[in-house]
């Protein structure tokens, strides 16, 4: 999968889950992810301003980052299948797999994922999700919601 494809799918992943878990942030999803991707610069202190940036994480950004990690894990899981196929077959497989992936994302993870993850891969994914949630400043309740949503979707196929 191309980097651009992962980027688009990760955005879709994040957007769909944001609509599910943090609907207030959904209208601002693309703006939030674009701002997250811009180089961070320190805020200038202004006269008669409030002077302190709002703390706490933005779920949309966390879900976007989690989406990238989840999709990467899924991509790694299908590598053994792809390596055994000829070029044309691999291309066809990628196309149909991509559609299933999109369908899974559009279902907001309520459908089973297009490929199952091995227990160690699933465990590594959950650890990454916790780490990203913590890095993005989400609180425990928000982290637990995301882990539960992902776990429910993958657990059926582990």
């Amino acid at each position: 999968m191309q980097t651009g494809d992962i980027e688009l799918l990760a955005r879709d992943f994040g957007r769909q889950l944001t609509t599910e878990l943090a609907p207030a942030e959904a209208p601002f999803f693309d703006e939030l992810v674009d701002a997250h991707q811009r180089p961070r610069r320190s805020r200038r202190d202004h006269k008669l301003a409030f002077g302190v940036s709002a703390e706490g994480g933005v779920i949309a950004v966390a879900l976007y980052e989690i989406g990238k990690v989840a999709l990467q894990a899924i991509w790694v899981a299908i590598q053994p299948i792809l390596s055994g196929l000829a070029d044309d077959a691999a291309k066809q497989f990628r196309e149909s797999f991509g559609k299933k992936l999109k369908k899974w994302i559009d279902s907001r993870l309520s459908d089973p994922p297009p490929v199952s993850l091995k227990p160690e891969a699933f465990s590594a994914l959950m650890q990454s999700v916790s780490k990203i949630a913590s890095e993005q400043g989400l609180d425990e309740k928000q982290s637990a919601q995301i882990i539960e949503a992902l776990g429910k979707s993958f657990r059926g196929n582990v």
């Binding site: 703006e31 939030l32 200038r44 008669l48 301003a49 709002a54 703390e55």
Partner: protein, 570 residues
């Protein structure tokens, strides 16, 4: 102890920071005069041999007028500059959810709705207030739109902080003071560059003379080394003085801004509650170094949280703040000694002052208006600042914010530090660079005289007595039943009548106690002193009537704390 659960709104009391703005004005006046003196010196002999002697005070007045005009212009143009603080911004429609919420908060405080502008950066959750007296603006970061949806309490806290700035009248003072600083620094730089220009002109004239006499260029250069060294020394001293004054001005301005931020935090906490304000401030800590703190626009987060928890902390002066104020007072006193060297600006002695024939001659022969204007311009802001410190300690005693003994001990220490700061400001200030070219011979005109040292020694005691004396009047004012806060006229009336009471008491006591050669007639001294004390009792009664805000002599109800002290409305 004061019940802090019922949140006293310290912003309802006359703000000491306005007095601090008056000090900024004083420093600006001093800088303008300093620049004017440089200009007049450069346009007088020996720099301009064919020109008549220029009056430094008149030149100083001209530069002051220009500085005020430039400051006003910078202030009038500030909205266009502030508009671009977050980059491009657009107006928020009146029917937007954000506008409606801001309008709601403004009407709660009794403040006219400002024009709302919003930028395009979703990660920006800051807001800035600015504008003219007749039209205020609030520039919002787009991140506040999201915050309003996800964390409305924090949104309210941030907006109420900005509304607090509008309600407390911070905008005009802040941006006019900024204009004053820019104008003052420009005046200083102009005088320094003018000095270079004039000096270059002198050297060029000298060279033309040398050339016409048939002398070689290298001989000219060798001959100019001694005067060049002197001129360089004078220039270095001038630049160092200018840099010193500019640094003092900038540091004082930033300190003033930090104080206004604390008042805005207290106002916001009174509207939305301390918990919401603390949520908005977050759990972080300020990580700036001490060196950078003096230049910061905002106070440390710990200080902000402390004021939110206990707004009465705004009343008790900080010891380090008193050192700073004292230093500025010392600077002003030092600059005033320069003026006494100008013949028609020297103030009369006490014996001359009470001599009718001397005073008649003085009024006929001296430009009394210039004398009055100059000393008032320099002395009045200083008197207001010292008076505000007395008022704040008196308020702490009247409100019983801490045990009275603690407040008195704090006052003794704080006022002593203020006196030390004054002495330091008098002795260690940018004028010290003048000694670079005057040498130790200039020390006589530089070090404080005996009467000035006596002023520094008696200042803490005098101010402590003032704080203790004004506490009963403030106690009465803070225990009334009024819901609306006192008007500016009432505050002025209390201040003036208390000042008259304090000054007549002091003169009466001094006259009776000191006796001696003043009026050269002991019975007359005792009579005059007693009359002054009776007059002071009359003034005290007037001050008390103003403090109870009722001219009726019938008993007026006492409350634990007056309702207006908790109000967020003006």
């Amino acid at each position: 102890m004061c019940d802090n659960r019922a949140r006293i709104n310290a912003a309802q009391l006359p703000s000491a920071t306005r007095a601090r703005f008056a000090l900024l004005l004083t420093i600006g006046v001093l800088l303008a005069f300093s620049s004017g003196q440089t200009f007049s010196a450069l346009n007088s002999p020996p720099f301009a041999p064919d020109s008549p002697e220029q009056d430094p005070v008149v030149a100083g007045v001209y530069v002051l007028i220009i500085s005020v005009a430039v400051s006003t212009l910078i202030y009038m143009l500030h909205p266009w500059r502030q508009l671009r603080s977050f980059g491009s911004a657009k107006c928020l429609p009146e029917n937007d959810l954000l506008s409606l919420r801001v309008g709601c908060l403004c009407s709660e405080v009794g403040v006219k709705m400002p024009v709302l502008l919003i930028d395009g950066d979703i990660s920006n959750t800051d807001a800035i207030a600015f504008g003219w007296p007749w039209r205020k603006f609030l520039l919002l970061g787009r991140g506040l739109v999201l915050l309003h949806q996800t964390r409305p309490r924090e949104f309210d806290a941030r907006i109420c902080h900005e509304i607090g700035h509008i309600r407390n009248g911070d905008i005009g003072i802040t941006f006019f003071a900024h204009g004053l600083i820019v104008a003052s620094i420009c005046a200083l730089l102009s005088s320094a560059f003018y000095y270079i220009f004039i000096t270059a002109g002198i050297f060029y004239r000298e060279w033309l003379q040398w050339r016409s006499d048939g002398n070689a260029f290298h001989a000219f250069l060798l001959a100019q080394i001694p005067p060049f060294q002197t001129i360089s020394l004078v220039f270095a001293a001038s630049v160092l003085q200018s840099a010193g004054w500019a640094l003092i001005l900038i540091i004082e301005h930033r300190g003033f801004l930090r104080a206004r931020e604390l008042y805005a935090d207290a106002t916001s906490a009174n509207i939305v509650g301390a918990e919401s304000m603390n949520l908005a401030l977050g759990r972080g800590t300020s990580e700036s170094s001490t060196a950078l703190e003096v230049f910061a626009f905002h106070p440390k987060l710990d200080d902000r949280r402390a004021v939110i928890a206990d707004p009465t902390k705004l009343l008790r002066p900080k010891v380090i703040g008193l050192l700073s104020v004292g230093y500025i007072v010392g600077l002003v006193l030092s600059a005033m000694t320069i003026l006494t060297s100008v013949p028609y600006l020297a103030p009369p002695d006490f014996e001359q002052f009470v001599n009718p024939s001397f005073m008649r001659e003085t009024l006929n022969n001296r430009p009394i208006l210039i004398l009055f204007a100059v000393y008032t311009a320099l002395g009045l802001p200083m008197a207001i600042v010292l008076g505000s410190i007395m008022f704040r300690y008196g308020s702490c005693l009247a409100l019983n914010t801490a045990p009275a003994l603690f407040t008195l001990c704090h006052a003794v220490v704080g006022l002593s530090v203020l006196a030390i700061g004054s002495f330091l400001g008098f002795v260690v200030n940018p004028r010290i660079f003048e000694l670079l070219w005057r040498g130790t011979g200039g020390l006589d005109g530089y070090l404080p005289q005996t009467r000035q040292i006596a002023t520094f020694l008696f200042l803490p005691g005098f101010m402590l007595m003032g704080a203790i004396c004004c506490a009963p009047f403030l106690f009465r004012l803070f225990r009334g039943h009024h819901i609306k806060p006192p008007s500016k006229a009432v505050w002025l009336a209390i201040g003036v009548s208390f000042y008259l009471f304090a000054s007549t008491s002091l003169y009466g006591v001094l006259l009776i106690v000191l006796g001696g050669p003043v009026l050269k007639d002991l019975p007359l001294e005792i009579s005059v002193g007693s009359a002054l004390l009776i007059l002071s009792t009359f003034y005290a009664s007037i001050a008390y009537l103003f403090a109870r805000r009722s001219v009726s002599l019938l008993p007026v109800q006492f409350r634990p704390v007056a309702p207006w002290l908790f109000s967020t409305r003006r």
